[in-house]
Symmetry: C3
Subunit: 218 residues, 3 copies
């Protein structure tokens, strides 16, 4: 009587590789973070990123690094990203937006999975109507120019968390977690066990057993 | 022709003690804060707390104090709280969440009135679907461990506001206000007068009288 | 085949002066900011202001400057404002709210276009139900007194942006932009061209042309 019982962790990972998103979207960032922490002693969370349109995001990362007055690097990153990948842009500064409506439309048209801006975004009215997940640190109405002078697909570090091309990102209303690509399989298996255990605990709570007793706290 | 005219302040307080929540929920935190200020010269507001799921909260407080890497103290606080009480958790730090889905479900099952975390919360997706009010300073996806090493039902101080077990908390979209238990009756009576006066003023505004004239400002 | 094709920029400005709001509301703050930047090298954005009830705002500004413990100056500003104008209040500090339900109702009754508080607001529950746009830096439940000791219709400076009586403000979910009154006509004409160009680009994106090629980025 396990939830997700018909899908083995192995099958789950295969379905992930095959681009079937549904099962993975049923995991929360807390479950992913807990799994990563159990395996690596490291929680992978970047705290100042917030969802702008309440959509969940996940996928392998394409990175970009840019000055905040150059949104052309974000356009360059779209060219480098493939279907189902997530663009992760690190802007040095957040006085100018490096992402907005036109970049969102282009990325969505290319079936990119979403964009995370460690910096500022704009065009929230338009983005909230698009079915395209966007996360950012801040929101401002102004932008710089499409210079495209930044770098694409380099290793980044955000609030002490390594963000490398090909690493996996998971985002929802609780925030954003980065999972190193070499740990993805075992993190997903662990997350699956955590999800099962939480479902068991939820059933016990529903039966009226105190959580302290379920957890064996004195 | 008073609003709430059929309910005397005394009756209001009795209905409050009896657990009839409706009338109290019709007060706003600004009205409570104004009443407290008029009586004590002190507004009772803790500014950095925000509602996570837009639900109003009120009730007598059960306190807890914990390191942010120990969410077990929050579980312990649930054991100490009774129906209609509000759990107020002070976390030292907000790098880790000390409240989430399982604790919310447990507290809701026990008919606790809600939880306020002076620290970080997680599982927002789940919490936004639960009919259980949660307020916090921040939101992060990661948590520590259920150590339960913190203290329960001790006196706290938050942003200069005393928060003692048995004090009353009121929260809505404008924020959170703490009312010392010994002042509750007269604060409620004063809030009732404020609410009546505001209803009178609203009617005059609706009739087109300038607020400056209503207030007697030059 | 231009959007807004039936309305010339000149007609647009006339309709604006005539109080017909609809066409202007179709501009976004990013378009206005881009237009202002192109003309003046200056983007006009005030970054810490957020919409409290997701409504767009625009109009000529009436200013007020007050200590945060004096919300009477906000009431005085309502007396000085006319239909379709926007009240812009600079509060020194944001420990107390200088705007709330009663001031919103009074301003709405007078057909004022909205209020922007560089400071704190309260009564969010009530304001979210009113059809009256409010922007602010912060939200707190407590307020000071209606002293009315501040100044009305003076020149302000917010985060390096001049805010003078009669200047125009535009606000939406991306933030707030101030346009100097003497530049309004050419900013609107430029915004019109930007909007047309963006519509052209959106059509090309929809046809599958990469944004990098549309923009001529290498």
């Amino acid at each position: 009587m396990r939830i997700e019982g018909k899908i083995s962790p192995r099958r789950l990972l295969e379905s992930f590789s095959a681009g079937e998103k549904a099962p993975l979207f049923r995991f929360s960032t807390p479950q992913i973070s807990d799994a990563l922490y159990k395996i690596s002693g490291y929680n992978g969370a970047i705290h100042s990123l917030r969802p702008l349109n309440k959509k969940k995001i996940f996928g392998p990362i394409v990175t970009a690094k840019t000055k905040d007055y150059d949104w052309g690097t974000s356009v360059k990153a779209i060219d480098h990203a493939s279907e189902s990948e997530v663009i992760f842009i690190m802007a040095e500064g957040d006085d100018n937006a490096v992402w907005g409506e036109l970049t969102s439309k282009t990325a969505k048209k290319k079936k990119i999975a979403g964009t995370i801006i460690y910096g500022a975004c704009r065009d929230l009215d338009a983005i909230s109507k698009l079915d395209f997940p966007v996360f950012s640190k801040g929101v401002v109405p102004n932008a710089g120019k499409p210079l495209a002078l930044g770098e694409v697909n380099i290793e980044l570090e955000c609030e002490g968390v390594d963000v490398r091309p090909g690493d996996y990102v998971f985002g929802d209303e609780s925030g954003v977690v980065i999972v190193p690509q070499e740990l993805l399989d075992i993190v997903m298996e662990e997350a699956f066990r955590i999800k099962e255990r939480e479902a068991d605990i939820s059933r016990l709570i529903e039966d009226g057993i105190p959580l302290s007793r379920i957890l064996g706290l004195k």
